[in-house]
Assembly symmetry: C2
Homo-oligomer: 137 residues x 2
DNA sequence: AGCGTGCTTGACGTTAACGTAAATGTAACG
DNA sequence: CGTTACATTTACGTTAACGTCAAGCACGCT
């Protein structure tokens, strides 16, 4: 039977999540992960895998590791602390607002850049055309 | 008559563009600006103002200072070098592609985060409700 | 001369999220 | 027991775009 120890070595964990060992140790140092130790080696439990999933998702959302650490910390107490969960949502909503603002800025920048490019194309076309006033032999 | 020297001191330049002296010196060190010197002091010419305008615009577009330096450098030769201008547009188009990709990712992240929030609200509502199975006295 | 103000040049500090290298350990294989 | 193959800790390096002193000119005014 396949070794269903339910814990992964650092290498297995890295392969499973496509991160480097340095990253996992870093996350542990930052108190984002808490692998158990077998002697000196780390063993990542199911809980660690769940946390890492959340961490990577948080990163995609653009949260900083420190934000993520705080959010994860709030899920631990007992899972039913209303005010803490609401705080969690506050943070998430703030982040959402930031992201939407960022999107708005990005839209503006994209639009501007597009018009700049369009104007530029005209200039190039003008330069490339053998100068209207010269044609007509 | 107002002193129409047409050159600005570093302070005037800072006030005009809302940047710090450090920033202007930094840009000069990075060869993005080339103020003339009156003794030891810097004097920013009209050309510097034009360049700074472009620099700040570039930053809004998300270009790095190094990108901007290269772009600015290409405008200098004589202003009619076709291949260099095309290179400029290449860079701009690449950046545009990056920005649109970023926007797409942001859209996904926003959508995800929104659903997470929505689900979370449900959970909170569930917790807040005095447990359905308990009612009905 | 002395003072205040503004400008100058270094040069080190900052932040985030790891990368990278060095020295050491240890577990298993043959 | 020696080698191979990972693991571990420690600690300095990296990148971008400035911030933040520190020490010292340079000018005009009094």
């Amino acid at each position: 039977m396949t070794d269903t120890t339910d814990t992964l070595t650092i290498r297995e964990m890295c392969d499973a999540f496509d991160v480097t060992p340095r990253t996992l140790r870093f996350y542990e140092a930052k108190e984002l992960l808490f692998p158990i130790r077998l002697g000196t080696r780390r063993l990542f439990t199911r809980a660690d895998r769940a946390r890492l999933t959340l961490i990577l998702r948080g990163k995609r959302f653009g949260f900083s590791l420190e934000d993520i650490r705080q959010l994860l910390a709030m899920y631990e107490p007992d899972g039913s602390n209303l005010t803490q969960m609401q705080r969690t949502f506050e943070i998430a909503r703030d982040r959402l607002a930031q992201m939407e603002a960022q999107r708005a800025e990005l839209d503006v920048a994209i639009a501007e850049l597009k018009t700049q490019l369009a104007e530029g194309e005209k200039m190039i076309a003008a330069f490339r055309a053998p100068a209207v006033e010269q044609g007509r032999p």
